[in-house]
Symmetry: C2
Subunit: 311 residues, 2 copies
Amino acid sequence: MSQPPRLQGLLAPVVTPFQSDMAPDAGRFVRHCRWLLDSGCAGLAIFGTNSEANSLSAAEKIALMDRLVAEGIPGDRLMPGTGACSVPEAVQMTSAALKVGAAGVLMLPPFFYKGVPDEGLFRYYSQVIEGVGDAALRVYLYHIPPVSQVPISLPLIERLVKAYPDTVVGLKDSSGDWNYSKSVIEGFAATGFDVFPASETLLLRGLRAGGKGCITATGNINPGPISRLYDNWQGPDAEALQHQVARTRELVQKYSMIPALKAIIAHFSQDPAWRPVRPPLVELPADQENELLRQLTEQGFDMPGIRGAAA
Amino acid sequence: MSQPPRLQGLLAPVVTPFQSDMAPDAGRFVRHCRWLLDSGCAGLAIFGTNSEANSLSAAEKIALMDRLVAEGIPGDRLMPGTGACSVPEAVQMTSAALKVGAAGVLMLPPFFYKGVPDEGLFRYYSQVIEGVGDAALRVYLYHIPPVSQVPISLPLIERLVKAYPDTVVGLKDSSGDWNYSKSVIEGFAATGFDVFPASETLLLRGLRAGGKGCITATGNINPGPISRLYDNWQGPDAEALQHQVARTRELVQKYSMIPALKAIIAHFSQDPAWRPVRPPLVELPADQENELLRQLTEQGFDMPGIRGAAA
């Protein structure tokens, strides 16, 4: 199969709702995905860190993905997270993503062992790519050292791009370290390697340097303004739009991100069923939630169209 | 079902051999397990850190475990690692371990998110225990902060023991921090909570304080002398035996542990098929392997009965 068009712009690492029995809530998930696309997201990075992906089994993730596509979400708007600690499980998830026509996959390195050599990480990506064995595959490397504790070094990127130039085509940078994003863009963007910082606070800076958008947690709640900044990044209002979205982001990231996003969706959609998280995460304490919502409201924050869409 | 007898003494976190196509090598695995039991191991902590457990899929692990039991290894000598990042996957592996009559399971906390609250870890263990729902279950908590980066705090142990007194019955301490082992023993051993340091260098000290043995990587290669120390810990030779096993351990742990263990087994069993490791690990470089084997031989180290047993 040939590769679908590349995703660029705002991608949301979609939060995963749970039913009262803690099973994934496919209905709410599909409705939230639809709202995100309707609100300006170019793509859906389902099964990322903010999706509690590693707290879901492979079977649960595959069922959610199949349901999305069955309900009309285009497969080529998806960039599912498919990395795992084991090669066979990463191959299984990646193959499932290709089956629904995903535009690409966002692939964590194996994250149990720490201090592993680049040679071992190269073998992992190589064995997954060759195990999947499909020319339609497009891999985005997932650099998130604050969580995975396993960084993706520049020499590793270079080696992977050289070995798999049509397959290893980008990276999400969740390091929060602009110098890293910049080095990757400077080193590889010219040859068609797409870099996505993990926060809209770096969106304008990233685009000006040669990045391709952002894959950001707060894309789940603020897709309109963030995609407006992406669409107008060369326009006269870019700095003002950047300032506005950064203000919201900076407020939300003072709290534990995943429960905070779910509390915000629950509040603005008037649907408390959005709040639960799976272990080892816990919901925001009520006082924190109240303070967060109070400050958001004070900023004039809103989620247009979310009522009924998310519920 | 009722609980099998508790395991005490030396447990080996069994290394997992791979075929040339990198699939698990069930034949060599069974033979190595048999050699370990014949050489003094009280139990087999299959699917631990040293087993590359997280580099195996659940299906691969369950197939290996079923094969062990089918080939006559008693289920009640097993303490399989069953912890996972997701509750459903931990429930699946734990249920499979109970199905073969395992004496207990060694359970990692979910290890993707870092800095998670004890409340979230309590919910994880609680949901796994209740999801399995079997009175035969015996859980040993797995404290390995250098790798998992998610420690098991004393208040968490206390809460779990109080909530599940017949189920949460012990802990493996891979912190390398004797003060932690000592605190857990002092806090909980009196009520039947079994603590196993993760190195034979702490075996005598642990037993004297009230620990129950050790679950140690080098149990894979040196089970005879380590179990001799366990059997004679109150005898006149205890200090000399402790000194001897510590000398071997200290040599081996200068190298990357898992590839070093496999190189040692390959050498002493004259079976080079033992060497491969899965990504993200890599084999020992030849110069390191040669130096390690030279120094072991100089110490008079041997693996009696391994030829033919491991091959």
